[in-house]
């Protein structure tokens, strides 16, 4: 158990990484949901719309938790010096680069129709971007401090988004009782 605890990032660091996760993922969900509101308004009543928003936000919240879990697990598996030592900054950078890459993929066509070469190119580019961000953090303490401060500052706002996520899950459960 002690070994397991040693491989987990500190709570405060996890909170700042979680803030980045939940804000970016739920902001993306909100943005694309609101584009559909005019079409939804035509055919849905208020409670049905509320239900739709709840499903979307509940899914986004669970997605944020999954991404956080993946980051925490990666930090637990990699050597301490590679990731866990600077978890807050590197974890936040990893999430931000992943978000940027995912957004770019969504705007650039269907990943399902990619060839092997495209997969390698996008995947390789992603790993290089993460490596570059981590290298910057490792080399420049001010960059690390800046990212940590950025994440800490978002925690309160992220709590609000997390509350929306939890509330959405409650609504989904209630609708299915």
């Amino acid at each position: 158990m002690a070994i397991f605890r040693q491989r987990l990032a500190p709570r405060e660091a996890v909170a700042s990484v979680f803030a980045i996760c939940v804000l970016t993922i739920q902001a993306w969900a909100f943005f694309n949901l609101f584009r559909e509101v005019p079409a939804l308004r035509i055919r849905m009543g208020f409670w049905e719309m509320l239900g739709t928003v709840a499903y979307v936000q509940a899914f986004a919240f669970l997605e944020s938790l999954l991404v956080l879990l993946a980051v925490v697990l990666l930090a637990a598996l990699l050597p301490f010096r590679w990731f866990l030592a600077r978890f807050a900054a590197q974890g936040s950078a990893l999430v931000l680069v992943s978000v940027l890459w995912a957004v770019a993929i969504h705007y650039n066509g269907t990943i399902g129709s990619w060839t092997g070469v495209q997969m390698v190119a996008w995947g390789g580019g992603y790993l290089l971007a993460v490596a570059a961000a981590w290298a910057l953090i490792a080399r420049y303490p001010k960059v690390e401090a800046g990212i940590k401060e950025f994440g800490r500052g978002l925690v309160v706002l992220a709590l609000l988004y997390a509350f929306v996520g939890v509330l959405s899950i409650v609504v989904v459960i209630a609708r299915n009782l």
Partner: protein, 512 residues
Amino acid sequence: MSMTVRRRDLLKGLALAPLLRWTWPQSVGDPAQPPPASGQPNVLILLFDTFSAPHASLYGYQRETTPNLARFAERATVYHRHTAAANFTSPATGSLLTGTYPWTHRSFNMRGTVSDEMVANNLFRAFGDGYHRVAYTHSSLAMLLLNQFQGELDLLKPVEDLYLVDEVFSDRLFPRDANTAMMSEQLILPKDGRLPTSLFLSLADSVERAIRIRAATRQHGHLFPRGFPTADKEARIFLLEQAIDWLRETVPQLPQPFLMYVHLLPPHEPYRPRHEFVDRFEDGWKPLLKPQHIFSERVADESLNQRRQAYDRFLAYADAEFGRLYDTLEQQGVLENTYLAFTSDHGQMFERGIHGHITPALFQPLQHIPLLISRPGQRQREDVHARTSTVDLLPSLLHATGHPAPAWSEGRLLPGLGGTADATGQSLFTVEAKNNRKFGPLNKATISLIKDEYKLVHYFGYNESPNAYELYNLEEDEEEMANLYPSAPAIAATLRDELAAKVAEVNAAHQG
């Protein structure tokens, strides 16, 4: 590569095994065994989506698209002037299942559902639990409606059971709230090119789907050189053969009496028939050229003709599969004790610069749909030329099976099922109002009123057409080439006043 065969894959494989027998007209099971007498007749409603009657050789079309439907017609009542209540699935199917027009059941939006007040007024509830009630559909739009009525169904077969690839899961995960969950899933993990609300898992979903489609293509792709038939903008892949085989095996075994509603997608686009149909109708035939319309999409005539040809091929394929089902039902004796109704929800357009059915226009290729009904033991063809409507089917089938026709239905009894053959003066409506608010008055719509030989169309609320009318004489001008509205003011005024009064009546309950 894993050699594990999942139970689901094994069942799918077994279900597909009979595909090998497509080209052999063999019977399934014991021949000519009439089902046990139950005292009450069964009812089977078989709907092929987007079936435009003007494209059926049974109804006089140039191309031999429906030879099997013609065989069925020899022992059925053929309704030659059957009119859809709407021009796309949500409102049209709502009208069939409730016996009311879209302005009453309110399912007139894309992915619409009937209003809460109307949910209890449906075909399945009206037949009651003295019938074993079963439904299946390929169409996610129709599924939204069937989900509303599932409390009245003994079996609502899951859509995915008869799909090769099905990427929709929310209806299984949230069965008690299936409609909202499914609509939300289309936002979270859309398959139609829209940006998803899911940032990361949607990417994994796309990759997984591509892998499954490639596997299905390796197995069956050689049979469908134009690609697989799909639904929901490629989110679901199906084989019509699988549904037909399920029906061939299931229908003769159903507890009796049964009421079964089956809504299959072909010949809805994309037009992807089996390989032996892909080269049919290379005849160089071109239909009558028609003028562009205010709602023209500027699709070139050459392109429309190519799409028409592709549609006709897909229709012929669907007809062939219907033929396999019909042969089994006949050989198994099911038709001795069953009302079999063959119909569609709406038609399809290939003229005036318009392709498809998602349009404000309401021309005959969209409205004129097939209806054939075989009564139990019927042996002779009968032809009905009176004008009939989708909303007539519910009260007629109820009446024919000894149930009272409900007061809330807006339909009449069909000739041959209790109605009079020479009925005149009946007003038939078709409503296109997908951009209206569900709970508001109709202020942006196209409404057609057909009365005897005349058809009045009113377009209102559109930018292209704030308030316009068209009038056609369908007896003398079935191609709707001559708009009589300016030249027949008396008839136009009579119909216009009737239509206006009807719209005011239906809007009165939704003001404010």
